[in-house]
């Protein structure tokens, strides 16, 4: 699948977020929230996607549950949205796992299986019958028929049919998940096994029904701002390619949302670069054959849950978000910190970092601008207090991290970067192989990005990938090279 293909389901999710934000800002949050499904599908309105208006509303209601930050699976159908709105206001901390599956939307898609289409000619050769090791295929009324009890989904028959008459029906989320953490169960809906899930967000992006949702923390953030506390935004580098304005306009626009200060996470990325370059030199001098980067949250969760053997080769350097949040909390110990994230994985990382209080993804930030009628391109320009380097700002793209580390390496220790551009079953096998052999035959600095294209390809981005790349590149071009920054000043 191409990165960031346009989806009608994103439109729905974003519309709900805008309505939720407006409800919060209105004089009757609970009631306005309860009405969201009815306002979106009023009596007599068209039913664009489902069988009837009631089902449409039920699904919109469930999407709103996720927007309020709750698990759809664990919320009773009879609980009113107004009650949940209230509960969201009382919540002290966001829920532990960032994802939830909308079971009512998920029923539509059929379980993965092998299917014989009308193209079957009932041929004499019958390679399908002969190939099936499980004896699952027989010929009935001149056509090939699969016995679901015996079929093991191996797909051999698919390959041998001379008419390509047999196909494998795939479940999009299952086939997108690199670690087999999501599966459609007997009851017809997908379930995530959180012991295995690495929060990569690929199922969120892949589901054609938009059934996998991030649990939003937008209400928590709005509440913090309303309470008059000092709330500080930390913008991940990828956001600079996301909205139709300049980075300085974005700085101003975020202040307009009510934040008291705005930091670039690229500032923390500079610290990551500095430490990771030093670490690379040290490791190679001590005889290591290769090192992998450690800034991608999805990759870090993969290591912890599925790939512990690679741990000795992974840099111990912390992520850009880690350093940024540390700096912000040091400078403003009383502040609430909100991280603006391109993906689910970083949301998960933030949930485990006490210096990061909340996370908003770019869809949520975009919805907030819409809710307040803020046109970012008409905002004035203001600067970030600390300037980040070109390399730090370029962390958002595949290859960006490796390039940054390379920029600070001494000539006698050159790096040969290998780019893992997106985690999938194949690239995970490759990483396993490098760990097992203790060497990577094609290079010594392995950059791993869970998303294809890097953070610009994250599941919660809003801009088209190509346009985002162009926009980010312009920003990088006008920024200062990390080499020209005084090392002791990096990050401060």
């Amino acid at each position: 699948m191409a990165i960031n293909t346009p989806k009608q389901t994103s439109h729905l999710k974003r519309e709900i977020l805008v309505r939720l934000i407006r409800s919060f800002l209105s004089d009757n949050f609970e009631e306005k929230t309860r009405m969201i499904p009815f306002d979106m599908r009023p009596k007599g309105s068209e039913v664009p996607y489902r069988c009837c208006i009631y089902k449409e509303r039920a699904i919109l209601r469930d999407r709103t549950v996720a927007g309020l930050g709750f698990s759809i699976e664990e919320t009773d159908d009879s609980t009113l949205l107004s009650e949940l709105a209230n509960k969201a206001l009382d919540r002290k901390e966001p829920e532990e796992h960032p994802l939830t599956v909308l079971t009512t939307a998920c029923k539509g898609c059929v379980p993965s299986r092998i299917y014989v289409t009308d193209l079957c000619q009932g041929c004499v050769a019958r390679p399908c019958v002969n190939t099936c090791k499980f004896g699952a295929i027989s010929i009935q009324n001149g056509k090939s028929v699969i016995d679901p009890e015996k079929c093991k989904n191996c797909g051999m028959c698919v390959q041998v049919c001379p008419y390509q008459a047999i196909t494998k029906i795939i479940v999009p989320c299952e086939s997108a998940c690199p670690v087999g953490a999501i599966a459609k169960g007997e009851d017809g809906h997908a379930k995530i096994d959180f012991e295995k899930c690495i929060s990569c967000g690929k199922c969120v992006a892949a589901c054609p029904f938009g059934a996998v949702h991030e649990k939003s923390q937008i209400i928590d953030v709005l509440k913090a701002i309303k309470s008059g506390k000092k709330v500080i935004a930390m913008l991940a580098p990828a956001i600079m390619g996301q909205l139709p304005c300049t980075p300085k306009q974005l700085h101003e626009a975020v202040l307009k949302l009510g934040f008291s200060d705005v930091y670039e996470v690229a500032q923390g990325a500079d610290v990551t670069t500095k430490n990771e370059a030093a670490e690379f030199v040290e490791r190679l001098e001590h005889g290591a054959e290769f090192m992998t980067t450690s800034c991608c949250a999805g990759y870090n969760e993969l290591i912890a849950k599925h790939l512990p053997e690679i741990k000795p080769f992974v840099s111990d350097t912390k992520t850009p978000l880690y350093y940024t949040a540390e700096i912000v909390k040091k400078e403003h110990p009383d502040a609430i910190t909100v991280f603006f994230s391109p993906c689910v994985a970083k949301r998960r990382e933030a949930l485990q970092n006490p210096n990061v209080d909340y996370v908003l993804n770019y869809e949520e930030v975009g919805a907030w601008f819409i809710a307040l009628n803020i046109q970012v391109d008409t905002c004035g320009e203001s600067s970030f207090k600390t300037e980040a380097s070109a390399e730090g700002r370029n962390f958002a793209q595949t290859g960006g991290v490796a390039k940054a580390v390379q920029a600070l390496l001494p000539e006698e220790i050159p790096a040969h970067p290998v780019l893992i551009d997106g985690l999938n079953k194949q690239s995970i096998r490759d990483l396993k192989k490098y760990a097992k052999n203790g060497v990577c035959d094609i290079g010594n600095l392995i950059e791993v990005m869970a998303c294809q294209g890097g953070c610009l390809g994250g599941n919660a981005t809003v801009n088209n990938y190509k346009a985002a790349t162009k926009q980010l590149n312009n920003y990088v071009k006008e920024s200062k090279p990390i080499k020209d920054m005084e090392t002791e000043k990096i990050g401060h």
Binding site: P6, F369, N464
Partner: protein
């Protein structure tokens, strides 16, 4: 010479977030497909999204004076084809 058809893709914040980010490709596709019969550009907020709850119908594209709601690449190309047939 005939008047050119004008296509304005709204790249204001509302439309952008609601989907016109993915309509930016029109700015390349349209000239390649229709040559100089059609003029296409990305424009700031057309002012349609701030009325009431009309943000939910974004993204907007204007083909001459016709407004296309919830625009997609296909919808816009069809509207251009229809215009060209009329003239």
């Amino acid at each position: 010479m005939d008047k050119k058809i004008s296509v304005k893709v709204c790249l204001g914040t509302t439309c952008f977030v609601m989907g016109s980010a993915n309509l930016q490709e029109l700015i390349d596709i349209v000239p390649a497909k229709y040559g100089n019969k059609v003029e296409v550009s990305g424009v700031p907020c057309l002012g349609l999204c701030s009325i009431d709850w009309e943000f939910s119908k974004a993204p907007y594209v204007k083909v001459d004076d016709d407004v296309i709601k919830e625009a997609t690449v296909e919808k816009v190309l069809t509207a251009i084809d229809n215009k060209l047939k009329e003239s």
